[in-house]
Symmetry: C2
Subunit: 223 residues, 2 copies
DNA sequence: GACTTAATGGAACAGGAGTCCCGTTATGAC
DNA sequence: GTCATAACGGGACTCCTGTTCCATTAAGTC
């Protein structure tokens, strides 16, 4: 099997991970990160995303990714080493691409915008499959799950201000945890995607938003 | 890799799946399901659960499962054929074991009982890891995800009556979807387990229950 | 208890994932 | 432009997953 999920395979950090000067040779990709190296990483991550969306995490084969990226198989194994490490790097890349947030002026309006954005993402053929695969990978490896958590922390932080504004407007009681409210909007949609399998229709997004808004108003998310 | 997630590998149904009389030879385990066959299935499913809890889905190796179950490797490959099919059968087995439901007399009380039960399950070392692994497997294969959805449908159905009772008592508006309320309790806990990684503490269970109750009271789950 | 054959299990086999070696390319520093 | 060497890529090699074959065991029927 690809990875035991716990072995000490250092993920050769190609982004955001500047290693302290170890005596041994540095991880490949860190000393000359420009030009070819960057092009290779870009091509491999795109190929990995495609492969994950098509075959899911269990079907992720590094040799296949190398071929799609038109890159040597050795390179992929040397720089990433395992499927989970590759997914972890993909998540770092995904976290960097920010999504725009809309401001409607009311808590319910903002939460509805968020709910429909999440729903659209998860029902998109490629994106939905990709998220499923990435979450599956994260269940198998600690570093990958760390990267996943960082990804969601980024996204939740981006949307927290709309709850803070709502508190300032008096739409929710003081002491309400903004992150908890944002999580409450996404949670039912992810639950459908991953667990229950119920349809991710427009109504489910509406329910998610109205429920989170009602619960916030009632003070259910006061710390 | 173990399974491409779509190939037409018939999972030799050992439970709940009575095949129509095909001309070809029947799936192994269906003609003489008693005695040894049943013991083998039990041992293999237990071993599969242990292996999943220990190494996660990516680390699931059928040869390892066979050894743990003290069963021939050939038997496991013949009867289940792929890791995802084995997990699907495990889910059928899990769905059969029912969990007791408590009746507290109020919607909030019942939902709190449910939330804490789910939380306890997901934070249990073995059970939590098992659920993660099973969900990961379901993202990779259609039959496995069908089995997972059936599992949750069973569980949700078991708890729906407490919402129906609440509607009858006037605690939630008529037309409220009971299943939606029960899902709303579990969803934030699963979201933490699988996506955001936030701690599954007692407070998170309380929030899940109170939020679902408040949203239901406010009519957020009216169809 | 005897009989048919479904189901199991050991062993040999095949194919592919992942590793290693070493020559080639091109980055970054001067 | 020149140079040292980081990073890449092809191909051979290894080991392990998954398959096939056939002898052995025991479930179900009379």
């Amino acid at each position: 099997m690809t990875s035991d999920g716990l072995a000490g395979d250092l993920p050769p950090g190609s982004a955001g991970h500047i290693p302290e000067p170890v005596d041994g040779p540095a991880d490949p990709g860190t000393v000359r990160p420009g030009g070819r190296t960057a092009r290779v990483r870009e091509a491999v991550l795109r190929a990995a995303g495609d492969a994950l969306a098509e075959h899911g995490f269990a079907g992720l084969d590094l040799a296949d990714v190398a071929q799609r990226a038109e890159v040597g198989k050795t390179t992929v194994y040397r720089r990433w080493g395992s499927t989970t490490a590759l997914v972890a790097d993909l998540l770092v890349d995904m976290a960097e691409s920010s999504v725009s947030r809309t401001e409607t002026g009311s808590l319910l309006g903002d939460l509805r915008a968020n709910a429909h954005l999440v729903r659209r993402t998860l029902t998109d053929e490629r994106q939905g499959a990709l998220f499923k695969a990435v979450i599956a990978a994260a269940t198998c490896d600690n570093r990958t799950s760390d990267a996943l958590h960082a990804f969601y922390a980024t996204r939740i932080k981006e949307w927290a201000p709309c709850v803070e504004a709502a508190i300032a407007r008096g739409e929710a009681p003081a002491g309400t945890d903004p992150h908890e409210v944002i999580r409450a909007v996404s949670a039912p949609l992810y639950y459908r995607l991953l667990a229950s399998g119920d349809p991710l229709d427009e109504a489910s997004a509406e329910h998610a938003a109205t429920a989170a808004a009602a619960a916030a108003r009632a003070g259910a998310y006061v710390r």
